[in-house]
Symmetry: none
Subunit: 229 residues, 2 copies
DNA sequence: GTAAAAGTTAACCTTGTGTTAAAAGGACAA
DNA sequence: TTGTCCTTTTAACACAAGGTTAACTTTTAC
């Protein structure tokens, strides 16, 4: 699909930002619609059925989270991809955003190039994921992960894991049976610039095993861990 | 091998990052090539045959995953080591989505020291890994090795070997029938800095023979060992 | 036959991991 | 702000699998 086949809806209460975003995205060929408040955005969304909505989190009256929830509640817009715009630093808004059903968050300020590539990556899901969004229905035996909702299902039962545990499990789960070295785990879950003690991973592994069962995470001594089953 | 013997190809759409990475790697003596986009990177890869490619995942037009797949598809580049650069917090599913397989993930921002040590560790595999990785599919009669999962298959049955045994077997297996001298084995499996007793290899060979069958590892007296069948 | 190399075994050491509890850190509500 | 609850990290120790050694035996090449 060409960029021009995609409709984007941008929502931000600051006209300047809106202007900046839409300029850059129109330059890439996207069809861009804009709105400066949540109510208007919902109305517009219903009208144009955008493929993707880029939502500022912080807005007066109705914030991005609420708009997101409202969109998710609307069956006709069920396949819309929602990305949040947040000011750097607020971790919580990110989580709240995912819980509300967001697909990605992008921190302001954002460089045009970065913005475009993030959105392109998101839009790819439409093609590759015809009917995606692992609905909470598709649950059976074993472990399932719903990243949108930050939930882990164990034999159908939903578990709420803390952030680090969730990320660790999600990483291992993303490629079952692949052995992840401690270095890889640190890098992906903690990042390469913070340093934590040797036993930190072990403790999280311990807690995960407590919650999802002892046999799902296997230790390869001297090498790393892997998810099995 | 010296650092200066290695050619690295860095691919990132942000020149600043490219600059930062190449500066630090050149300082270590590596031969560094850079590219700001996927297409160019592929062309350059073909040209210089790098030992290792460091790929940003998020890039406009052609992202790192695509580049990786393309490289893996190219026979002439089959032995290239691929490491991904990702922003911490990027969706694992995107990273997990590729089956082509990177060898490592490194998160941005990364400290020079960490970067260098990770890359050095990866480059070590070149010597010890003459033949490409084997996918888990190829299971049948005889012995198969899956390095990613750290499993050895004997007639289809999966065996869990301890690290040293696995590495030793993987080495011999990597070039069936080639005789590896004890010196070679020490150097590849133990490294040139550690010194262990004469009989250490023998003991590991003994254990391997117990597990995979007596006839798979043949002794060439006065010369070394080789894997057969 | 003999010496050198490799095989074998079990004891011993090492190192990575498991485990627990407690401290530190953070978010939220009163 | 204070206090509370939850998450994350640290610290200290336990423990076992893995790795090595040493002593001895067997094999092989010459």
């Amino acid at each position: 699909m060409e960029n021009s086949d995609y409709r984007l809806l941008l929502v931000d209460d600051e006209p300047d930002i809106l202007e900046f975003l839409s300029y850059n995205l129109r330059k890439e060929g996207f069809q861009v619609f804009t709105s400066t408040n949540g109510h208007d955005a919902l109305r517009l969304a219903n009208e144009v059925k955008p493929h993707l909505v880029l939502l500022d989190v912080m807005m007066p009256e109705m914030d991005g989270i609420e708009v997101c929830e409202e969109i998710r509640r609307n069956e006709r817009l069920s396949n819309v991809i929602i990305a949040f715009l947040t000011a750097r630093g607020e971790d919580y808004s990110q989580i709240a955003g995912f819980e509300a059903g967001g697909d990605d968050y992008i921190t302001k300020p954002v460089k045009p190039k970065v913005l475009v590539s993030r959105l392109k990556a998101l839009l790819k899901r439409i093609d590759s994921n015809p009917s995606p969004a692992i609905s909470s229905e598709s649950i059976g035996e074993g472990i399932h992960i719903d990243k949108e909702r930050f939930l882990v299902y164990k034999d159908g039962e939903a578990l709420n894991l803390p952030k680090k545990e969730f990320e660790l499990l999600a990483l291992l789960f993303s490629r079952p049976s692949k052995v992840f070295s401690r270095d890889e785990i640190f890098s992906m879950v903690w990042g390469d610039n913070i340093i934590v003690g040797d036993r930190t991973i072990d403790v999280h592994i311990r807690k995960l095993r407590e919650k999802i069962g002892e046999d799902h995470i296997k230790t390869i001594k001297g090498v790393g861990y892997k998810f099995v089953e």
